[in-house]
Amino acid sequence: MSAAPQPLLSVERLTMRFGGLMAIDDLSLDVAARQITGVIGPNGAGKTTFFNCLTGFYKPTLGSVRLNHPQRGPMRLEELASHQVARTARVVRTFQNIRLFPKMTVLENLIVAQHNALQHASRFSLAGLFGLPGYRRAETAATEKAVGWLQRLNLIDKADTAAGELPYGMQRRIEIARALCVDPLLLCLDEPAAGLNPRESAELNELLKHLARDEGIAILLIEHDMSVVMNVSDHICVLNYGRKIAEGTPAAIQRDPNVIKAYLGEEDADEELHPEAVQ
């Protein structure tokens, strides 16, 4: 299906059940390296649950999530705890409702994202306590990396401002910058364009394309804003009621009758499925 011979991430028969509710039903999906894979679907289709399963926040009821780590070889993400997914598998996510460290400055947010490397350099805080040169070098390197991302995401003027005091669109970018500081192999973005104005969302498109093409970061993107998804995605997977109903290139998805049915509804289900149309 995908151009790459071996996918970076392959999700196989993933199922997540909450009591009687089948949030994800037998979902299989491949995510190629260096590509942007869009995950779309109506509200409640199971997109965020899918992310939670990938990143260790939920334990899937059935199925497997295999990551082909270029250095560490194959890994099973569903067996890892959430912090290990970010730390060892380098699969990093952002959140639908922004989760920054609001009272800490933007720079501190990005430094916290490099905790594991720094903690290692600080030798259980001992080298850090005495300010040994090894730790100082590591801290300078971490600051430089953070500053580099802040400059590229045009956030450097706000480096010393508390993250919670900044406008919404900026907070979205900070969250992405923070995730990038973990050096992700796969970046899972949960509705990064929500609440952005058209200009910001166009900038986001450029950023995502740049990250995938030039930085070689695979991106898994949940998004409702079709101008973003259709524009940047190489591949799109459509979920509805936890099932994959279509998969393919943006052009193919736009023509797919199942997708049109899921989004626009059919017959009498019309008003219920698409209340926005009434407004």
């Binding site: 912090h83 460290f101 594991n116």
Partner: protein
């Protein structure tokens, strides 16, 4: 954003005139049927009459009124903006260095160093100051758990008790000295911190508070009942006092004492002053340790954990280790303070480690401003000195104390010093490049 507002309120006079003209035009449209035309009863028939002067006056009034109104609004907005900018400037200045607070800190250090020299013969003052410093140290220790890591701990006194009893038992039963027992008691308290932390890893907020409250009580009840080890309700008596590098503070005898070694005349105040400087040194070490930890990855992880635990996990931070380290280090510092307490009193019993103590230490942290080191000092002064000063009021003392706390929380809901100093700054790191 502020640039936008700025551009919006700087309206040229012609724009104001245009705006007023638009209003006048609307007034004209509305005014023609409502004011310009009227009906008059003429011999039973209705006839339409015109009132152009009235309409003209109405339009003129709208035009002028709009001009004035707009001018007034713009003035108000400009003033509000200026006020906000001034506030932002103050905020930036606070962020820049807060030199005042630094000076207050150094001033407090100077005063605390000079205090026993000035009041050598006033045992009450030095004793009270020692008590203040114990609470300062406990506050700094609890600050790690509550202020930085955001874990509400209502049983902190348990670690204080563990430290005190560890020294008490080691000293009376095994003959250990203060300095030998100090690290052991700290390690003991730290392991109790982990014992408390482990089962409460998944708890937050109120639930965690209840468990820690219970933990504090469990430790106290064990101390009351485990008579063989702790002496039960009678406690442990005749705990040896710390010596000055092996020189005891005693009346001259066969062995060299502090007074005889330095050729001084023996005075009981030597020990009081020594204890004061000892706790001052311990407290300062605690402060140095906590301030440095805060700027290390582990300290930033504590604060990040307080801000958002889920985001921490998504960044690859092991929440369990971070929480346990906060509990362990906070407990260790409490244990050190406990050792000092036991050595100073020479007698400990479960009476000294009631929930009331936990509440006071927590009040010091909250009142001082969560995470603020200097705030803890100020709050300890308030919380220890207020009841002392209120002794003359006897039964109204606690009432005054409570009122003062309520008033502080009304005026300063974030604590006396709610300001948070960033652990590192972009401007500082790149100052030379700019």
């Amino acid at each position: 954003m502020s640039a936008l507002v700025l551009a919006h309120h700087r309206i040229s006079p012609t724009e104001r005139l245009k705006d007023a003209a638009a209003v006048a035009f609307i007034a004209l449209l509305l005014g023609i049927p409502m004011i310009g035309l009227t009906t008059i009863d003429q011999g039973g028939a209705l006839r339409i009459a015109t009132r152009w002067p009235a309409l003209l006056a109405f339009i003129a009034a709208c035009f002028v009124g709009r001009l004035l109104l707009r001018y007034g609004f713009d003035q108000l907005r400009a003033r509000k903006l200026a006020r906000e900018q001034a506030a932002a400037a103050v905020r930036d200045r606070n962020l820049a260095a807060s030199p005042l607070l630094t000076w207050v800190g150094w001033g407090a250090l100077g005063v605390s160093l000079a205090l026993p020299i000035v009041f050598t013969d006033n045992r009450y003052v030095v004793d009270t100051a020692t008590t203040v410093l114990i609470y300062v140290m406990l506050g700094w220790g609890l600050n790690v758990v509550v202020g930085l890591a955001g874990l509400l701990d209502l049983g902190y006194v348990a670690f204080y008790a563990v430290g005190a009893y560890t020294y008490g038992v080691l000293a009376t039963q095994l003959g250990w000295t203060f300095w030998q027992a100090l690290p052991v008691a700290g390690a003991m308290a730290a392991s109790f911190g982990i014992i408390l932390g482990w089962p409460t890893l998944r708890l937050r907020g109120d639930y965690l508070a209840i468990v820690t409250l219970g933990f504090g009580e469990i430790i106290r009840v064990i101390l009351v009942n485990w008579t063989e080890l702790s002496g039960g309700p009678n406690g442990i008596t005749s705990i040896p006092r710390p010596s000055f590098f092996g020189l005891p503070f005693k009346p001259p005898g066969d062995d060299p004492t502090f007074a005889s070694f330095f050729g001084l005349e023996y005075s009981p105040s030597h020990r009081i002053v020594f204890l004061y400087y000892l706790i001052l040194a311990l407290a300062l070490l605690t402060n140095l340790f906590v301030s440095r930890m805060r700027k290390l990855p582990i300290g930033r992880a504590w604060e990040a954990m307080r801000e958002d635990e889920i985001a921490c996990k998504a960044m690859g931070i092991n929440a369990r280790n971070v929480k346990l380290s906060a509990f362990a280090i906070g407990a260790m510092l409490g244990g050190f303070a406990g050792v000092f307490f036991a050595a100073r009193q020479g007698f400990i019993s479960p009476e000294s480690f009631t929930f009331n103590e936990s509440a006071i230490i927590l009040a010091i942290v909250v009142l001082g401003g969560m995470g603020s080191q200097l705030g803890v000092v100020l709050a300890s002064l308030v919380l220890v000195l207020l009841p002392e000063l209120g002794r003359d009021f006897a039964e109204y003392r606690m009432l005054l104390f409570g009122t003062a706390m309520i008033l502080i929380m009304i005026w300063k809901p974030g604590g006396i010093l709610a300001h948070r100093e960033p652990t590192l700054r972009y401007l500082a790191t790149t100052g030379d490049k700019r």
